[in-house]
Symmetry: C2
Subunit: 231 residues, 2 copies
């Protein structure tokens, strides 16, 4: 029992004193006051990671897009709507963070212009011009005193290939890849299975509940973080 | 006490034997497997109307877009995602319905093509071509044995003007107009205030909780329905 207790204490302190910044959920990009573009994301994975990081002793800030989820105990939550809002909230906190996990499904594009009044139906066809949103995780990894920067790659094909490309292109320390075309995992599901990739290798985490997976990921990331930072 | 009881019994039977079909929530129009276009709608108003109609003795079918709400007791719920799904679910049940209330915030347009794989970011600008979705409520009101057909007009300007135009153009029996530009009502709010319009006149229902408002609307609609149908 003593051994179990000390192990539990050790585990609960994996992120003791660490400041962790996590994004979760989708973003919404307004077309007009009633219409928007968004991405599928329940926010469950990011909220589970926030809870796991808090359980591991970290001081956690969760920047959340519009989701219907309760805030995990002890976590500071900042609600945002658009990718630009999320970018601003994250970049204001990047310098003070030790670990950043970009788990949100950020909209890559937003309508070029937001119409102030509801657009009335007129034609059979309508053309929407979209422009690129700022790339939050690239901005984090390019920041001067960058945190250990972890991204997600939710893909529907060649998942590992895209994930490796994203890891290098965005100069991430690690990336968590999952295949959202597989039924029963990802998005609105309660389960997930992922592969954690770094420049040094990859590790598969088999299908399990999102909270259990979040606990396992935080443990892995804490080990990476501690092995990277000699302090 | 006897008077109260008989009044309660009378009120609870305003829609006795009636079959009511209600749509609620937004629809989602897929751009690709991860992106979609949608409309702001919590579904609260439609779910409250379904509950109120069931409480009034009706047999209620609720066709719901993606929302996070529990199904009211005694209500048959059909979950749909896209406007086309909703159209199909509604039109299959129109002929057997006495009252239809179109409360869903149906997307007017959907992407012309749905891309099977996640679209990769490439250019700084992207053009999305949208095409019109089928008009559910116009199809209901044009159907051969049409139910008493009630629409909603969620507008941000000239609310009454647009509502009257919609009432006539879509050949509705009644329309419920609300100004979604006013803070604290509509969309994700728990309160609402509306104006109920028919060809014969209009009645304002002041700001109140959505369930209370739903009860009041069902009472008004039941009176209209009973005065329209001599049976």
């Amino acid at each position: 029992e003593l051994a179990d207790l000390s192990e539990a204490q050790f585990e609960s302190r994996l992120l003791d004193g660490m400041r962790v910044l996590i994004t979760a959920g989708p973003t919404r990009e307004a077309i007009d006051p009633v219409r928007y573009i968004s991405n599928h994301s329940s926010g469950k994975m990011g909220f589970s990671l926030a809870r796991a990081a808090a359980d591991a002793g970290a001081s956690v800030t969760l920047v959340a897009g519009p989701v219907n989820l309760p805030t995990p105990a002890g976590v500071e939550r900042i609600d945002v709507v658009s990718a630009q809002d999320m970018y601003d909230a994250v970049l204001a906190r990047t310098a003070e963070s030790d670990l950043f996990i970009g788990c949100a499904a950020v909209a890559d594009y937003r309508p070029a212009t937001v119409v102030e009044q509801k657009i009335k139906k007129q034609n059979d066809e309508m053309t929407l011009t979209l422009v690129r949103n700022p790339d939050i995780i690239s901005a984090v990894s390019a920041s001067e005193s960058r945190p250990f920067t972890v991204g997600f790659a939710a893909e529907t094909q060649d998942v590992l290939g895209y994930a490796k490309g994203k890891l290098e292109r965005k100069k991430l320390d690690a990336i968590i890849a999952n295949d959202v075309s597989v039924a029963g995992i990802g998005f609105n599901s309660d389960q997930n299975e992922v592969i954690l990739l770094t420049a040094r290798g990859e590790q598969a985490l088999p299908r399990m509940g999102k909270q259990q997976l979040a606990d396992a990921l935080i443990e892995q990331l804490a080990q990476l973080l501690n092995s990277t930072d000699p302090a």
